[in-house]
Symmetry: D4
Subunit: 255 residues, 8 copies
Amino acid sequence: MALREELEGLLEGVQKGELSPSDVLERFASLPVRDLGFARLDAHREVRQGAPEAVLADGKTPEQAAAIVAALLEAGAGSVLVTRAGPETRTAVRAVAPDAQEDERARAIWVARGRPERRGVVVMVSAGTSDGPVLHEARIRAELLGAEVVVHEDVGVAGLHRLGAVLPDLERADCVVVVAGMDAALASVVGGLAPVPVIGVPTSVGYGSAQGGRTALNAMLCSCAAGLAVVGIDDGFGAGTVAAMIARRAGPRAS
Amino acid sequence: MALREELEGLLEGVQKGELSPSDVLERFASLPVRDLGFARLDAHREVRQGAPEAVLADGKTPEQAAAIVAALLEAGAGSVLVTRAGPETRTAVRAVAPDAQEDERARAIWVARGRPERRGVVVMVSAGTSDGPVLHEARIRAELLGAEVVVHEDVGVAGLHRLGAVLPDLERADCVVVVAGMDAALASVVGGLAPVPVIGVPTSVGYGSAQGGRTALNAMLCSCAAGLAVVGIDDGFGAGTVAAMIARRAGPRAS
Amino acid sequence: MALREELEGLLEGVQKGELSPSDVLERFASLPVRDLGFARLDAHREVRQGAPEAVLADGKTPEQAAAIVAALLEAGAGSVLVTRAGPETRTAVRAVAPDAQEDERARAIWVARGRPERRGVVVMVSAGTSDGPVLHEARIRAELLGAEVVVHEDVGVAGLHRLGAVLPDLERADCVVVVAGMDAALASVVGGLAPVPVIGVPTSVGYGSAQGGRTALNAMLCSCAAGLAVVGIDDGFGAGTVAAMIARRAGPRAS
Amino acid sequence: MALREELEGLLEGVQKGELSPSDVLERFASLPVRDLGFARLDAHREVRQGAPEAVLADGKTPEQAAAIVAALLEAGAGSVLVTRAGPETRTAVRAVAPDAQEDERARAIWVARGRPERRGVVVMVSAGTSDGPVLHEARIRAELLGAEVVVHEDVGVAGLHRLGAVLPDLERADCVVVVAGMDAALASVVGGLAPVPVIGVPTSVGYGSAQGGRTALNAMLCSCAAGLAVVGIDDGFGAGTVAAMIARRAGPRAS
Amino acid sequence: MALREELEGLLEGVQKGELSPSDVLERFASLPVRDLGFARLDAHREVRQGAPEAVLADGKTPEQAAAIVAALLEAGAGSVLVTRAGPETRTAVRAVAPDAQEDERARAIWVARGRPERRGVVVMVSAGTSDGPVLHEARIRAELLGAEVVVHEDVGVAGLHRLGAVLPDLERADCVVVVAGMDAALASVVGGLAPVPVIGVPTSVGYGSAQGGRTALNAMLCSCAAGLAVVGIDDGFGAGTVAAMIARRAGPRAS
Amino acid sequence: MALREELEGLLEGVQKGELSPSDVLERFASLPVRDLGFARLDAHREVRQGAPEAVLADGKTPEQAAAIVAALLEAGAGSVLVTRAGPETRTAVRAVAPDAQEDERARAIWVARGRPERRGVVVMVSAGTSDGPVLHEARIRAELLGAEVVVHEDVGVAGLHRLGAVLPDLERADCVVVVAGMDAALASVVGGLAPVPVIGVPTSVGYGSAQGGRTALNAMLCSCAAGLAVVGIDDGFGAGTVAAMIARRAGPRAS
Amino acid sequence: MALREELEGLLEGVQKGELSPSDVLERFASLPVRDLGFARLDAHREVRQGAPEAVLADGKTPEQAAAIVAALLEAGAGSVLVTRAGPETRTAVRAVAPDAQEDERARAIWVARGRPERRGVVVMVSAGTSDGPVLHEARIRAELLGAEVVVHEDVGVAGLHRLGAVLPDLERADCVVVVAGMDAALASVVGGLAPVPVIGVPTSVGYGSAQGGRTALNAMLCSCAAGLAVVGIDDGFGAGTVAAMIARRAGPRAS
Amino acid sequence: MALREELEGLLEGVQKGELSPSDVLERFASLPVRDLGFARLDAHREVRQGAPEAVLADGKTPEQAAAIVAALLEAGAGSVLVTRAGPETRTAVRAVAPDAQEDERARAIWVARGRPERRGVVVMVSAGTSDGPVLHEARIRAELLGAEVVVHEDVGVAGLHRLGAVLPDLERADCVVVVAGMDAALASVVGGLAPVPVIGVPTSVGYGSAQGGRTALNAMLCSCAAGLAVVGIDDGFGAGTVAAMIARRAGPRAS
């Protein structure tokens, strides 16, 4: 670790008489805090050289978003993912990153460099077609983090038979993501079936009593399915992140 | 219909010269409004002579509740059901109605006189043991209204297999009542299976994100299961009422 | 029932030595779950060959909605109803289903094939003109399910006299639907008059304290009118479904 | 007006040379602000010498409440009303005001001295027995302010016929107070019937979806009945105040 | 009263043998309910021949709004007021009612025929410029109902001195309307100064913690100013109605 | 898998002519649903013979809770954990399970039989002393599921230096649980430091603006710390479950 | 003090016989209230001749906003700041105040005349780029009030190391402003580090569980960091005001 | 500063050859983070040797609270303040700290050692008697931090004249604290009068629409009074802290 080496260097300088204690103290004061101990911990965001950076386009102008992307790439970032990116933001990003890929439905655009090798399987299941944008944001994020993602959309819950096709994939998942709005009953049903951690993503799909996703959120938090944890409303990005972290770390399933 | 006959009698009295128009007008003014046209409509509360009256004990002193029961019985009421009745209220009611029956868990006490013949089947399903008080309030109410009630408690949803034992009864139900708190996913699952109207009763069971039943309520209202309607939180009484009304009117199932 | 016959056929194949046990097991594994027991229950969505399918256009692109309609019709669906369908969605649906009918106010478009014979009477009452879209969504849905629907709009409650014209129809209803926003007092008043189950539909009509329909919803849930159950805010579709289910099953009124 | 005269007196003292300008300025500084202009306006709280003072016992110890009562009486207050007064507070108040009257149900205790002559009629209507405490707090307050109060309790709304007995009194009211919890539909119905201003008091009666009175409050605020204004949840005191102010000022009804 | 006379006529017809009892009963059945007893009560909406009718344009198309106006005028209505009327609605209304007057800021358009003579003084006070549309809706409504209205806009509360100019008018008011958003402190301050009933109108002015007017609403409901009642958020119409009803009935101020 | 073998046995019986197809069909009908396909999936709740069962004592009487424990143990359950167990419930459980262990602070009592071997490290961190009950419920649950748990209580966030002692343990964790109420800032800070999945547990600690834990919940859901997912308010049980599932599956950390 | 002198002058006029008492009383009546005692207190808004006036453009038309600015300048105002000013409002203001400066991001336009000399240091820190508009509104306001402002944007909290660069400035601040949305954890972290009062500004940045800033607001209010007080959501103006008031009054830091 | 000296000592040890670089690195690793850079910043909690420590008794057992107090005193703390301390907690604390002082109304107990000299004036104003506990918690806290506190209780706002007695003290305040529940209008009024920063403390006093203090909180946040910032509901402790920090730093008022 660079910091440790740098510190060792400074201390050896003192040991050798090349530096005085007060020189070193001054050096300490001018270093950013991270150089004094936190940098190592931050390293988990950079699992490897090609680590994914992320930019939330909401609340930024297209120009701001593009400038950040350009700066990150220039600074040597691996992949960069821009979320909640409308058409104008995507155009602005493409201008600074011609090799960017994008997904209109997920409102995402990204540059993928030095993507890590695939490891771990995340199964992502959505209740309805309208949950698609959130599901695919999660998928893109998890894939950039190096997970293999299997997608089942529009599974519903009122007709349980549609779950049939999902069961075999649940069996081989290292982590499951359930994307559902409205009453989010799918999360409880899948959570009762899946033998692995399940990440629920409530969506703001629906009107009236759906309350912009708060009903789905609360329903997921209340679920008595074992092994279910939840991210924020419509937060596909967060779900993709935690699911990939779980899946990539998972060892082989105990038979 | 009594009112029509009474009016006819008055008018005939005028016709015969036994009453003057102003006599009749005075009589009109002294009648309660219901005698001027609404009484007939109110009759649905009295399906037969032994019609059930109901008293909500919440917000009343034991003495008030007992006094109302006594007055109703004296006035010739058929059955009288007191809900949300704590031990003291039940004691007070027993003092005025020695033939009262009670159910401690449902916090209910009732006098059943001239109960109507059984007609129609209501299947009542609860998610957990803690939903019992609400379920049994619904059951007692529906039975007093003349429905046959079949109860399945503690069905859950995280383990779908527990639904197995319920399926045959769902097949023969005229109406289904689902009592569930927390995420109320059971309502969606049963609503997707039952071929008849389903009445959901959200319960205030659970803590934190259950929000005193609001999560269950909203989840039921958001359910995409066809044929599901909902009553208020913990309102077993209301569910029993509407379910019995549906079931008793139901004709034979089309094969 | 098809499944039972199919299973019997498989088992007879084993009995006759035409199939081995492992053949049958494999066949089991490849069937969707519904073929293993749930399909029969799902049948309530298809009361007859011309069963109505429904598509919620909200959250779907016009193209997605139209593609689903086309697929359903191709798969032999009877009627298909698209709700929350704006002008563009309706245009897209007409392109794939030239025989579609539509209702601009209800934002609905539908294909009606093999509609079931009329049975049961649903009376639908709205508080104000602005509740019209929700009421008509309910009406269209209930008619497609085979109920006879009688509509009274703009009944209000502050002027009770307007209820006068509705009373005779309440008398002959098998189920009543009340569509009301704001304080939804109409639901309590009608619920106190109608001798049959009443389905309340809170609407998001109104501003300020109407809170997007939550006030109407809560008021309906709190109503002490007997026999009232509620669907979600603006959920005309759900109300039409459950009301038709109740009405079609209703036997002749006991005199 | 006393203040004007006092000022005039001071200024004349200056004019006559009896007071120096700085004497007057000092006098100004030592006067409470109200003596500098607001006092006159404050006078509405003291319609006459026996004006009612009020003490909210909630959040005060019995001793604090009693001490305030004693101080007010000593200062020459006319009537003093203590609201939200539990048994201990009432005992403490009786100790300092032996001529106090009290109402257990309304949790009120008061001393009435020099009560104004009766003027104006307030009709107070409640939906159920449980609304009684709030209704009677309103009644006591309005009576202390000099209004005549007519009470109709437990009128309900699901059975409109019960309104019949109230109609004649609505005809002669100068102001109507409607006390109702749950869905508060009674406010809309009475508001549609009464030809005078109606003050709604939402109560916290009920459970679940009643939301501690917020549903009743919002429903009243949404009512389309003309001439309805609202006070806070359970605020019988406020309703009694404003209703008495309206009724006492009312001239004879235009025929 | 017309109804009484009509009934008397019918009964005399029976008395004279011109009508049979069954004729009369049939006639009863065909009359709207209001003809059976409620019409008289409804009369308060028509204080005189030129009574104001009102149409809420929100949720109605311009054509619907205009058609209702045309129908009301044709039916002989006195004044008709259309609220929440955008430019298109106002254009449509002008086409059917060329003598309509309008107020762009209040989003109101109205026809005033046979306006009642002025009686009673309503003082209307707003906290800020942005409360103007609500204040003027209240003003127009109250004026159409025959009250004299005095307006003070932009009074604020953080600088109490601005209240100075309002004080003399508060002195001569029969009713005061306070229009305020945000923290609505103006309502408490004015409520503490005015010796007459005060109607508070919370407005949705402000952002963030103003919560669309709910903060102002709740603050007004919590105010300890005596004699304050409240209407719904932004409900200038309701405030104008109840204030005019109070003011017009007010007798001369007791000196 | 038992079910497969059982099915195979049945089919072989048919093949051999020992069973008729209708015998087998009847047998199918009498099996619980889980025997028809879901049982295998349910098996994840029983990772091994000594699988933990759980009972939520809230909403159950002490007798009910104890009876369920007795039944589970009799049925051969491995460990059984009773949560939200007050003193009376714990006494009742001890009576049926003398070898039960308990933790007063966590309000938990449990029987641990055949506990799985330890695997995976969960680090649990709480913000304050008052979060202890929730943290220890999580700890007990995770330990019963076979995880090694390291606890750091009262870490706070306003004094970041207290985090210092936690850092080395964060380094070796397979999963981190953060238990925090109020503003839950600790979750963001730890989430920014820990290189593994973090499970946040909002607690209802605090008053006023803490809103019973909803502030902590929402703050955690909004956190921009990567890899954070959340369970319900005060849901130590849920956090312990999902954290243990993640940790036990985790392979060796990539260096 | 001007008022005192004016009063003294008047009184001396009476003393000298130049004014009669009634002249003076009349003069009193015609003065705004502030001239009778409050004006002095109001003076805090005018720290010096060039005091800043402020106009909230929200809810005002561009013309209204510009007219107010023109009137204020004409009346001799020092600086005038218009907040929430969109492009059209800024254009309208520039037309009446050609020397106005503006900041598009902060949606602010202002005229600065006679700006006070700089005194006191306010350090303003934001969590993310999207918080910029609020931060800069605060900055402009504080600068117009005469404070020196140091800005650190996009500090975040998930990566604590970014705080490093801020620490030296926190050391020299007289007041700190933290602008943050979402979970607002930055406020707790900075509040734990800064040795001076911290003003938190929750922002409406974020979606879903951010709840339009209410989560950030509640989190800040719950923070256990000492010395933290909060202004309304997105209220950069308010934060700039109070922070400048604190900073300008601050004496030299005790070493 | 101790840390700097310690670091210097270590480095000199290296310089002198008494310590090797790896010795020092190991020593670094074992130090709490604060020793690596944050300690200095934390020092603001210890303005002097007798710095106040605080313990929130809510959620802690009396024994836990007392043990923490004992530990803090033993560790050499100056003053220690325990808030939200019921009678049992206060008894337990007295047992370990016989020199503790307490205030029953404020539910506070504290040990004051080496209290700093008084500096700066905080004026604390409450709206009603019931706000007393919160006001006195604030007062005690501020006094322990070394501020002079002037208290005005029960000032109200409906009768503005009561403010008169407060005005002179507002003039000499360095910071004002306003404690108010319900509509909290007092905060706006005082905020409009006081020429210094005002800290608002919303209280949970009141019922119904007061919503446990949320109405007061939101009203304060919406206030347009300049220079008002807010702490959490009932958070007297927080208000006392920030007010004392502001007041003690304040230089002499510019005349």
